[in-house]
Amino acid sequence: MPSLCRDCLTTFQDAPRCPSCRSPRVAAHPELLDLSIAHMDCDAFYASVEKRDNPALRDKPVIVGGGTRGVVTTACYIARIKGVRSAMPMFQALRLCPEATVVKPRFEVYSAVSRQIRAMMDDLTPVVEPLSLDEAFMDLTGTARLHGAPPAVMLARLTARMQAELGITGSIGLSHNKFLAKIASDLEKPRGFSVIGAAETMDFLGPRPVSLIWGVGAVTRAALERAGIRTFNDLRRWDRRDLEDRFGGMGVRLWHLARGEDMRRVTANAPVKGVSNETTFRADTADADVLDGHIWRLSEKVSGRLKAKGIAGRIVTLKLKRSNHSILTRRVSLHEPTQIADRIYRTARGLFEQVAREGPFRLLGVGVSELVGDTAADQSGDLLDPQAASRAAAERAADRIRQRWGDAAILKGRSLR
């Protein structure tokens, strides 16, 4: 079986230790030298950066977090042993691990390190798709001749380089598509190097829970459980058409993923295409007032995200899911980009009126796409709606009040519907 020493990067056949440097850190897999889709995930990224910059913390539990929300952003592996997890309230984390050092996040530093890692990945392949500051997909297909080494070797070299030059460790997942590469990188963290080959895909997934699938959140998981689906094996027993009938487009995706099939390509520099928020109701509803409240709250959320990023969009989309899970979308192109909640709401509301009688609905979503910088946004008024300008000004004023006094300081009555 082809094997790779992750310390000296020698490749060899079947040996528990590297024949040249005697290291036990060996990756061995029948398809090791053939696979080329990879996922790289830094290990406890923020905490690692903090430990690197303050060596006194090296052997101590470190929690990055706090700030306004008082939750754990990242915990180092020592703290994780005590049970500390990301997104855990800080008081709870400190109860589990009272000796931990809490560090406020320094995002500028993390993004600087992230850029350095990105540059290293760019040396491997032009096809790098970052998912966040600390993880990315890479497609190394066809790079073996250029580098004179197969993807597996280059990936092992990448993590070695990250550790040597930046003091940051990462885990690699190597497989034949994005879905499996991402699962693989999580298999033996930290400093992991896991391979899922084509031949073993079905056996590998079989007994695992479907919650491994990115995008299967609590609601979908509950829906799947009601259908008796917990594992990939359960999922595989379903007919494709039945899945589609029951879960819509998601059903088709599930059918493929159950077989380890994922046709999504690794795409470099994929810019943000749109900002959207959606909500699934506790009970299906056709109540126009209730739905109106949702449209407003979602418009406000989308607007808030656009404002925070300093962007705006020209297309407003309304998405509705009927009780039978079929999806209905309506979109409209504005004559200029907007980031104002009031405009997004009124536009989405207009779209809703076209389809309101198709209810009841189980989900509603509002999105804005065709994004541009906000300097080009909301520059002109509406002849037929002379109040629009003052409503937008009121919204900006309310934004400033919220910035100072918190989100609940001021809100529209509409949002209480």
Binding site: L351, Q354, A376, Q379, L383
Partner: protein, 372 residues
């Protein structure tokens, strides 16, 4: 049905009829043109259920009758036939084929029964009048650029044709707006139009209508009801449903107290706007106008691409003003001016601006400024 017709006459008639056929439609019969031969003429009829075009052409009819064939295919065939050819069309009623013969070319086209073709119901028109083609051409040509494409405000997706009270008396008026600019065009009220109900003529019908208006000497027979509008020449009849909605009260939108007055040669102005706008490739690019003592500075500042500035000598004697507009909107209204200077009337940099040609108030335009 059997008739022969000169290829040129056939092409003209079929071309006009087929243009209303919706390219993407799911109802087969709507892709077809209805051909009816009777007496010494042939009628070609096509519809998208909202608009119907009926076109007549002289022909030598041997056997009266009617059938329908795919409009686009039929048009393509006729277009490719030799000019001046005599075309023989035969439908024996039994084979389900229309034979098209011209010289050595021979086609057999699948037909659908004429009974399936949805002929628009004839209705009672509340008002019938006649208007010279150039008058209608001016009314619609000068207003149609402002028609909205926004589906959520469907009542703006057309030109509002109605009778209005102007300074000069009662007029036939066309108004279009998309909320960002507005065009209001007046013409003398034709005899018989006094009781015309106001109707919103949909964008597509406005486009089809334009094809009837090229001949300066033509008189157009106009018929209007609450739900339909009809424009007819001796050869062509265009019938369209009107948009079922209420056009907003545009009169409040037209500023009456704008006092700052700029007068400028419209084509110099349009060319200058076009030049400075070149530096920005954004769709809603803004042009800044700075006005001070007979001087107008136009500028565009696109942070990513560069900036541009141009100075024009104009007539302006009011307070200094800085105001921004969407470059496209400025160009569109400036290009409506064809005889005299363009006169802009401003209030403030945030209020709607009015534009007209010289002192002529029969065509006024309103445009909303942009923040710059």
């Amino acid at each position: 049905m059997k008739f022969s017709i000169e290829r040129g006459a056939l092409l003209r008639a079929v071309a006009r009829a087929q243009s209303v056929v919706e390219r993407r439609n799911t109802i087969p019969i709507l892709a077809n043109v209805l051909i009816e031969a009777d007496g010494d003429e042939v009628m070609f009829r096509a519809t998208d259920l909202d608009i119907e075009v009926l076109d007549r052409a002289p022909a030598k009819v041997e056997r009266a009758g009617a059938t329908t064939v795919n409009a686009v295919t039929f048009h393509e065939i006729v277009r490719k036939l030799a000019d001046g050819a005599l075309v023989n069309l035969t439908d024996d009623g039994a084979s389900g084929r229309l034979t098209v013969e011209a010289g050595r070319s021979n086609f057999a086209l699948a037909t659908l029964p004429r009974q399936d073709f949805p002929v628009m119901a004839t209705s009672e028109y509340a008002s019938n009048f006649s208007a010279p083609a150039p008058v209608l051409r001016r009314l619609f040509d000068k207003s149609k650029f402002a028609i909205s494409t926004e589906e959520t405000r469907y009542y703006l997706n057309g030109v509002y044709m109605h009778v209005a009270e102007a300074e000069s008396g009662r007029v036939l008026r066309c108004v279009a707006t998309d909320g960002h600019r507005l065009a209001r065009i007046d013409a003398g009220l034709p005899d018989g139009a006094e009781d015309m109900p106001g109707v919103i003529v949909p964008r597509k019908a406005v486009g089809e209508l334009r094809k009837l208006l090229d001949d300066d000497d033509a008189k157009i027979a106009v018929s209007v009801s609450e739900t339909k509008v009809r424009f007819a020449t001796p050869e062509i009849t265009l019938t369209s449903k009107v948009i079922d909605g209420t056009f907003p009260d545009y009169t409040r939108v037209i500023p009456v107290n704008n006092t700052r007055k700029l007068e400028v040669d419209a084509s110099d102005f349009a060319r200058a706007v076009d030049r400075v706008a070149t530096v920005s490739s954004e769709r809603s690019r803004a042009v800044k106008m700075q006005l001070d003592e007979d001087r107008l500075i136009l500028s565009v500042n696109a942070p990513d691409a560069g900036n541009a500035e141009e100075e024009l000598v104009v007539a302006y004697s009011d307070e200094k003003l800085e105001i921004g507009f969407n470059a496209k909107y400025l160009l569109e209204i400036a290009s409506q001016v064809d005889r005299e200077n363009a006169v802009f009337l401003f209030n403030s940099s945030a209020d709607p601006t009015l534009m007209r040609e010289g002192t002529d108030t029969s065509a006024v335009y309103v445009v909303m400024p942009m923040r710059v």
